[in-house]
Symmetry: C2
Subunit: 550 residues, 2 copies
């Protein structure tokens, strides 16, 4: 059965078709620097202009605009005003059932667990709904892609995880320890399983309630700035990689600028790390998500004159649409071992035991689950239920209202959303009419698209907010994104870095021989990418890309 595409909208179909056909032509374009720069600009800019951009008039604070509501970012901003929810909505339990994985996981045809892990780790830096006390309308985010996973959201936290010293070889560094010959952050708990005083401001590791009652798990927790960075060995893996790169960059800066004090080395290294992160977000992660042949690249100048360049502020819809629980399989394969995802929380033992090389290899080798309904593992169903409740607590408009806001015609039948009879019947049984389908459910009910990591509406919404947040980072602004801010040495590193593999090569023993990839090796890379990479990086990276392509 195929989906009824009559309500996809001709402009959307044209855009999609243009961007996903003629791979050879796109290959040429991707390699032709000057034209590619223009198309890259247009694609990013037009992705943001799909709907109204910030500042939005309303937040989750109240139903009217006020000085407080337009200023207080502890509330989420919102794309659409709150609505009175339709009567007799199905119970959250019943809705969560639509998400529940049946017998076994549907696997993604494109994404590896490195993609799943990166998505989780990346969003854990900023999608920080309040949990103590719980309030689904509020957050404690800095509203920037500023690597709060690594550095924390407040200066107090940052200062506790830093080495503050003018001694050479220490300047600007984050505290670290060596385990089995590799660099990690220090532990958060001491030998007795008690929290160390020096990390009093560091947030408690976030995860399933009670998981840390187990002393052996507690002892493996790292003193990370981010509250969710210890959540799984993979989130820890990415955070450790960033910590190593931070300390490595500090060494380069200290060497190149011996007169710089501790503070300047730290701050400049952090600038560099955030720029590296932004390059990877656009150049690797978003490239992986889209099914388009055009190779996307970070180009801060796209934002300099843009009328969507407005204060960053995360929307509640962006927070919700990012719950990609279906990416998580039933088991994690880690070297020669297999772990159930039910136990895969708040325990860094597998990471420390195997080291970062094994971690990246394992994470790149395993396929992720496919994003969609009927594919959330049992361990995460309660999280799914919380998301459904968060949507209702914020009185979000319906799935169809968001389609309209984002430039898609309203769906008239369930068959226009999905081609899967089980999903169609499930939606019909719960909602009766298409107009009653909730935002959160509709997002994930849509059919997967060929060579895309996410369905259509979700894809559109995620690019709109991700681009418009990434490009308005203060470090990307017109008079800041330059060598003065990042230093000559830092600027070079930024130019030389395009993907996680580059960081792994620099910071993991044997890392330059590893296959580090968000895209499964059976999926052809974006046309022209391997060639373009050869040009930029020489044979080594090209070799890795060739392996990916095989």
């Amino acid at each position: 059965m195929t989906r009824d595409t009559s309500r996809d909208g001709w402009k959307n179909r044209l855009r999609y078709s243009l961007l996903t056909s003629w791979p050879t032509a796109w290959g040429v374009l991707n390699r032709t620097k000057f034209i590619h720069a223009h198309v890259n600009r247009w694609l990013i800019d037009s992705s943001i202009r799909m709907a109204r951009t910030r500042p939005h008039p309303l937040s989750t604070m109240c139903d009217y605009s006020s000085v407080e509501s337009l200023r207080d970012k502890t509330w989420f901003t919102r794309h659409l005003p709150a609505v009175e929810p339709p009567k007799d909505l199905p119970s959250p339990d019943a809705v969560a059932n639509l998400f529940a994985r049946k017998d076994k996981a549907k696997l993604s045809k494109k994404s590896t667990m490195l993609f799943a892990s990166y998505a989780q780790w990346f969003t854990d830096g900023f999608l920080l709904t309040n949990t103590t006390p719980p309030d689904p309308r509020k957050n404690h985010s800095t509203h920037q892609f500023d690597l709060a996973q690594l550095y924390g959201t407040t200066r107090e936290v940052t200062e506790q995880i830093r080495v503050i010293s003018e001694a050479s070889g220490q300047r600007g560094r984050l505290k670290s320890q060596v385990r089995r010959g590799e660099e990690y952050p220090p532990y958060l708990y001491d030998e007795n399983g008690t929290r160390k005083d020096e990390f009093s401001a560091v947030p408690d590791p976030f995860g399933p309630v009670g998981a840390l009652r187990d002393e052996s798990r507690r002892k493996t927790m790292f003193a990370f700035g981010g509250e969710r960075s210890n959540t799984t060995p993979q989130t820890s893996m990415l955070n450790v990689l960033m910590l190593r790169e931070h300390n490595r960059v500090c060494g380069e800066l200290e060497c190149a600028y011996p007169s710089w004090d501790d503070e300047r080395v730290f701050q400049t290294a952090r600038n560099v790390l955030i720029a590296l992160q932004l390059k990877i977000i656009v150049g690797e992660y978003i490239n992986h998500i889209t099914p388009y042949h055009c190779r996307l690249e970070l180009d801060p100048s796209v934002a300099w004159k843009a009328n969507w360049n407005r204060e960053p502020w995360f929307a509640v819809e962006f927070n919700l649409l990012y719950r990609w629980h279906s990416l998580i399989p039933e088991n994690i394969y880690w070297g020669t071992k297999r772990y159930s995802t039910n136990d895969w929380f708040l325990d860094n033992q597998p990471l420390i035991e195997g080291g970062l090389a094994l971690a990246f290899e394992a994470t790149s080798a395993q396929p992720a689950g496919e994003i969609g309904l009927h594919n959330t593992p049992g361990a995460l169903l309660s999280t799914e239920m919380a998301a459904i409740k968060q949507g209702r607590a914020n009185r979000l408009a319906s799935y169809n209202d968001y389609r309209a806001e984002m430039g898609y015609p309203r769906a008239a039948t369930f068959e226009q959303i999905s081609s899967d009879p089980e999903i169609i019947e499930g939606l019909r049984a719960l909602y009766g009419s298409v107009d009653r389908v909730e935002f959160y459910v509709g997002l994930f009910a849509e059919d997967p698209r060929e060579n895309a990591a996410v369905p259509a509406l979700l894809g559109r919404m995620v690019s709109l907010d991700a681009f418009s947040q990434a490009l308005v980072n203060p470090l990307c602004s017109e008079h800041v994104f330059n060598k003065a801010t990042f230093s000559e040495v830092g600027w070079q590193r930024i130019q030389q870095t395009n993907c996680l593999a580059d960081l792994v090569a620099r910071n993991v023993k044997g890392g330059n021989k590893l296959l580090v990839t968000m895209t499964q090796t059976s999926v052809p890379p974006k046309p022209g990418v391997a060639a373009a990479r050869t040009q930029e990086h020489g044979p080594l990276r090209a070799l890795a890309q060739t392996e990916v392509a095989q």
Copy 2:
């Protein structure tokens, strides 16, 4: 003697000449709605584009850009980087002497004390350099024109000065008392001269050290949200006017929207008051400052697509250039009384005794001092000295550097700055070379211009930052500046209000017969203004304008 204008720059001379010649043509233009709207847009937009706009790469925090320095607004942002100050700068005492008024005040040919009072009261809402503990590099501003003079800079303060009640006739109101038949805020101190507990978060009135040791003064202090609103009877006068308008608007809202709760009435009234304030800033105050014939008007849409629409953040230069101490005369004439400005601090007795009608009448009738060197009253010389030190503490670039940044050729001789032999010789004696003249001194050393309230470089810098801050107020943004935000009733009030006189007419007994004006009655109003006003307001306001013109 006339000033050597050879280094004024031909573009600047052309612009100035275009905007200050042909009053008849400008009169027609000011009355022709469609063309006027375009010219108004161009004039505002081009005033902002005179130099680099926000986000600036540096703040007063440190000499490089970092996540902290680009985010922490307790430091000032800055137009130009810090410099190593030239050696052997003259002592602050010697420089302050350049500011000292000689025998008697030079009076402005254009401005009344209402202009001086408004400038002080307006800037006291946001130019909040830290004083406890003193740090000339830091501030506690909200970085918006948000009437913090009235409402305070924090929610805690706002809540203490509000009546929080669902009772009809109370909703949304600010606390007030009646004295001699007129509405004022409550007193901050009780009968014994002790601060009232209910205002524990309200800031101490700011003024000369020790002035409040006098119990009789203490007893006249109002519980104002702003720390500097009690500073003089005129700042109090403007704040009381705003309080009355706030409470009046609440009454209108309560009447029109009986279902609204206390919070919504308050927040909407505050929205309206801020919009009124913005209209007056552009339509009356900035109009008064510029010598241009074009009538300037608040048009939020100028900012909607502009690439200078960036997060508001006050610059240290804007803070300094606003020290218009020379506006203050030696004496204040208040009804039949005369007060020395030496005693004119932290004492609301004259205001309460005479009432608001007398206060506005007296303030509108007295000419202000002329802005420039050798005209600061003795009582303010220590404040002048503090400004000179603040410029040095922030290592500001030189006067000539700022000329270059703002599109003026660097001055080569002292005769290109001033035509006044005393000033020329004073500068020469202190600095030797033009390039050594400090920013703060150079600003005020320039010749006054015909029909302008401020000299040229100061005028350019004040419009750049004032416009670019006013128009990026969140309430002015594209999807917020509408009836939904201000209510139908509030929107009408905004349309009907153009100047302080309109507020006085609504809130002061007999206020519609008063002459309330920032411009002396001997100065002709902007061409076409009286006629345009007649169209908008009917005969009453036109009558007042005719009086102004006579």
